[in-house]
Amino acid sequence: MQSILETRALNKRYSSTLALNNVDLTLPKGKIIGLLGPNGSGKTTLLKIVAGLLTPTSGTVLVDNQPVGEGTKALISYLPERTYLPDWMTVEDCLDYFVDFYADFDMARAREMLSRLNVPAGKRMKQLSKGTREKMQLVLVMSRRAKLYLLDEPIGGVDPATRDYILDTIIGNYDNEATILISTHLISDVEKVLDEFLFLKDGVITMHDTTDNVRETQGKSLDELFREVFRC
């Protein structure tokens, strides 16, 4: 099976803290994969390195067989855990921005999603609530026909009803060739959409398996397994 993301001996150190420790990873194309782990396990660091926002201390990262750079950024659609759209931009400005820079941006899909999520088109970002801004960012990210989606806590800040819509959107709007890597704490919510999962603890990948395999061999849900593995 062809891989979309490969990391080899990937390390990231922040002064005295080793955030990622020798991470070897191969993710296939066309899968929805959960990146799961407790706070401070290195999930965001891993996503930021793949997105090109952090420089690894050592090791290699290949996205669709290319090192991280201008080329891979065209393939990746990244949703950070924070709101990054400038306050003064209107919803229309944001759409214009994404259309300008991403050849794979689907404007019709974006407008349809915005309408379904009741995001008002003429409003500036500073006039929107935090939750609506997060929805806006998710719409922008999921409206691209990217090869790799990196979603850092995509459902953390929204209500349960919207959460369901977002998960349906994620499943319904990506093509079979694309891979989605979702980092989240809300495992029970995302479990139903995941093909595979990664457990990350103290910067080390401790488990990489399919969700079906966990259910079949261990007779447990992913949420139950997570609670067992990461019990405090």
């Binding site: 926002l53 952090l54 420089t55 990054y84 400005d93 300008d100």
Partner: protein
């Protein structure tokens, strides 16, 4: 892609800088009107034999208006520069960096876009300031007529007397082109020096990064001062300026043209140095918090 980046950077900067320039022009017009009125009132009071105290008061208002316009103009240049720098900081080191650095655009283009839009707005600000000062000097400094004929006469003299006279000794078009090129290079090197200080400040400090950037700018500026004076001293030695005689205006103009040229080389060198240092940090050591 550079065109698109510039379009969005221009849009972001115009939001604050366009109203600011309109404000400078508007403020300048108001101050011009106020000064012209107070001068006329002062003259009228004088000819009507009014009290000296009232005349002094009116002239005081006029002088205060002139000082205020000067301060406002100086402040506008600083505010323009600060807004340009803050835009750079937010786009690269703030939360917006998550948007900027995930664009499928080369690092060089990202820097070029910030540099060119920053230089464009600095130039616009300079033009607005000059126009404001021109309006003030022509319409705000006389009581005899609407426009100050002495100022207009001085402008006319510059083109009818001074320039033809100067062209006997120097190649005026060449000097003019040289001056424009050096101004552009000096502006680019200064802007890139500030951008570099912001980037290094962001690298060395996790908190108070703006303060760190100011500290870095002071340090870098000292380094640039040392490099510049060493470079120009070496050039002066190499060209043998010390042994040259300045007996004629031609001698002087030849030396000045040469010095200007070397300043151009210095500014170009500094611009290239800062550009590649910023690019190198963004490419090899980016760690967005």
């Amino acid at each position: 892609m550079l065109k698109k980046l510039m379009k969005h950077d221009f849009r972001a900067l115009s939001r604050t800088l366009f109203p600011l320039q309109i404000g400078i022009l508007g403020g300048g017009l108001v101050a011009t009107l106020l000064t012209a009125l107070t001068i006329r009132l002062g003259e009228h009071t004088a000819t009507a034999g009014g009290s000296a105290l009232l005349r002094q008061l009116i002239m005081g208002v006029s002088a205060t208006a002139s000082v205020l316009i000067g301060i406002a103009i100086m402040a506008s240049a600083l505010v323009t520069l600060l807004l340009i720098c803050y835009h750079f900081y937010r786009s690269f080191l703030g939360d917006e960096g998550y948007l900027t650095f995930t664009l499928p655009v080369s690092t060089s283009k990202l820097i070029w876009s910030k540099l060119l839009t920053g230089m464009f707005w600095t130039a616009i600000n300079a033009v607005v300031i000059m126009v404001t000062l021109l309006i003030f000097s022509v319409f705000g400094t006389t009581s005899n007529s609407i426009a100050n004929t002495e100022v207009l006469q001085a402008f006319r003299m510059f083109f009818t007397d001074i320039l033809p006279q100067a062209s006997k000794y120097v190649n005026v078009p060449l000097v003019a082109v040289e001056f424009v090129v050096i101004t552009i290079l000096a502006l680019a090197s200064q802007m890139l020096e500030i951008y570099f200080a912001i980037v290094v400040g962001g690298q060395v400090a996790k908190k108070h990064r703006i303060l760190a950037a100011i500290g870095m700018y002071l340090l870098i500026n000292m380094g640039v001062g040392i490099i510049s004076s060493t470079f120009m001293s070496l050039i002066a030695l190499g060209e043998g300026f010390a042994n040259l005689s300045f007996n004629t205006a031609q001698d002087f103009s030849v030396v000045m043209t040469s010095v200007f040229g070397w300043f151009g080389v210095l500014f170009a060198g500094l611009s290239v140095l800062f550009f590649f240092l910023i690019r190198s940090i963004f490419k090899k050591n980016l760690n967005l918090q």
